[in-house]
């Protein structure tokens, strides 16, 4: 299990990284924590001529808070989020999500930017950041651009990242009303890739509700019917189950009975979890 040979560079600035990635095109890959890319290279499901190491770029490590946003640098590790090293004005949701990703040794390296850039359908951060309405900041040769994470992630291992573009970080909007966030995940063993993840975010009482189901399809699904039910204030789990079942018929028409039951269950558990947050 050895990777095919490649060249390795450690640029000093994002601009330099961007130029190197653009120049080498599809034969280059950016590496941050490498916890997915290194095994993919070793298994030779990914092959590159040039590896551009972003892991020491301080520009990608900045974390900040304004009255409107939490800004998370792309190189922020899962372990740093788990340990509360960055603010979490979302009722501890991000800390809890981080603590369930893979294993501690992997969380010490894996980064939030790397997770979004890879866009694995079972990744934890894509669904979470979509549920929180986050925006991704992207740097490239032609300056910076921003895009909603929901639009950035396009499918299995597919994003809108163009040649030479690098994820700089994320802006997660803060809500005026206190957020209540719920989360539930089913994986065959703790730390393994999930089979179903649900996020429920409610802004205050009677405010905007977002329900996101991840690990169910090539990209996370925003469940409109389930959100409508939760926003209605009707406190009935049977009605929520029915609403999710209707959503699944629309968004996942090919789901088998087990998958349907599993996804309904994670959404219901995420809603319960949300209700425990005061």
């Amino acid at each position: 299990m050895k990777s095919a040979p490649f060249d390795y560079v450690r640029p000093r600035t994002v601009a330099e990284a961007s130029a190197l990635l653009a120049q080498a095109g599809v034969n280059a890959a950016a590496i941050a924590g490498g916890q997915s890319l290194v095994p993919m290279l070793n298994l030779r499901v990914a092959q590159v001529d040039l590896l551009v190491d972003l892991s020491r770029l301080d520009e990608l490590k900045a974390v900040g808070e304004t009255s409107e946003n939490l800004q998370i640098g792309a190189l922020t590790t899962h372990a740093a989020i788990e340990d509360g090293m960055i603010p979490d004005p979302f009722g501890g949701l991000m800390r809890r999500v981080a603590s369930t990703i893979s294993y501690r040794a992997v969380r010490n390296y894996g980064t939030i930017g790397g997770s979004i850039a890879l866009a694995d359908p079972a990744a934890d951060w894509t669904g979470c950041l979509i549920a929180l309405g986050a925006v991704v900041r992207i740097g490239g040769r032609n300056g910076a651009r921003e895009q909603a994470v929901e639009d950035f992630v396009q499918g299995t291992y597919s994003t809108s990242l163009g040649p030479g573009e690098v994820i700089l970080g994320f802006d997660v909007p803060r809500s005026d009303a206190p957020l209540r966030c719920g989360f539930a995940k089913v994986a065959r063993k703790s730390g393994a890739f999930a089979n179903s993840i649900a996020y429920v975010v409610v802004q205050g009482r009677g405010g905007l509700v977002t329900v996101v189901l991840a690990a169910a399809a090539p990209r996370p699904i925003v469940l409109a019917g389930a959100a409508r039910h939760l926003a209605s204030g009707v406190d009935s789990e049977d009605a929520l189950r029915a609403a999710v079942a209707d959503d699944l018929k629309t968004y996942l028409p090919d789901a088998d009975p087990y998958e349907t039951r599993l996804h309904i269950s994670t959404v219901v558990r995420a809603a319960r979890d949300m209700r425990t947050q005061t």
Binding site: M1, Q35, P39, D53, A79, S102, A105, V106
Partner: protein
């Protein structure tokens, strides 16, 4: 590519191929074979080492990415006080059978006790879920870590 690392407290300079993992670097270039390679894709935890104080799967990082870093393998933790306590309890609780997973188990156990002093068995089981023992000797391993945690917490009540 030339890299310089502090390996078990000593400065080491080596030429490495960019594709070389840290695991292959410590085993093949440096002859430190306590670091075991089980799955080589991050699933088993046998190759766990410490880089800049953080537990690391040495099969999932490239040696070139560790340039300038400080690396501890199990060999370098021989005289570490927590490791001495852990070794004693692994011995007393039958925390190993074939021993293949043991280096990774010991390094991960030390990390668990540092982050979560005096853990109960459930916490240890959860935190250890990334370390695989193919002899399935988890009962003894968990017991050993809980016992070591209690002894260390007793000896250092303020952490």
């Amino acid at each position: 590519m030339k890299i310089t690392v502090e390996l078990n407290g000593a400065k080491v300079v080596h030429d490495v191929e960019p594709r070389e993992t840290l695991a292959d670097f410590v085993r093949d270039r440096c002859g430190l074979t306590a670091t075991h390679l089980g799955c080589e894709h991050g699933a088993c935890g046998a190759c766990t080492v410490v880089v800049d104080g953080q537990v690391t799967r040495s099969c999932l990082v490239l040696a070139v990415m560790c340039d300038g870093r400080s690396i501890d393998t199990l060999e370098g933790l021989r005289n570490n006080p927590a490791m001495e306590v852990l070794r004693k309890h692994f011995h007393e609780c039958h925390g190993l059978q074939c021993g293949f997973c043991t280096p990774g188990m010991l390094i991960m156990a030390r990390d668990i006790l540092q982050r979560l002093p005096g853990p109960d068995a459930n916490t240890v089981r959860h935190e250890l879920s990334g370390q695989i023992c193919r002899c399935t000797g988890y009962t003894g391993i968990v017991k050993a870590i809980v016992a070591a945690g209690q002894e260390l917490a007793r000896d250092t009540p303020n952490g």
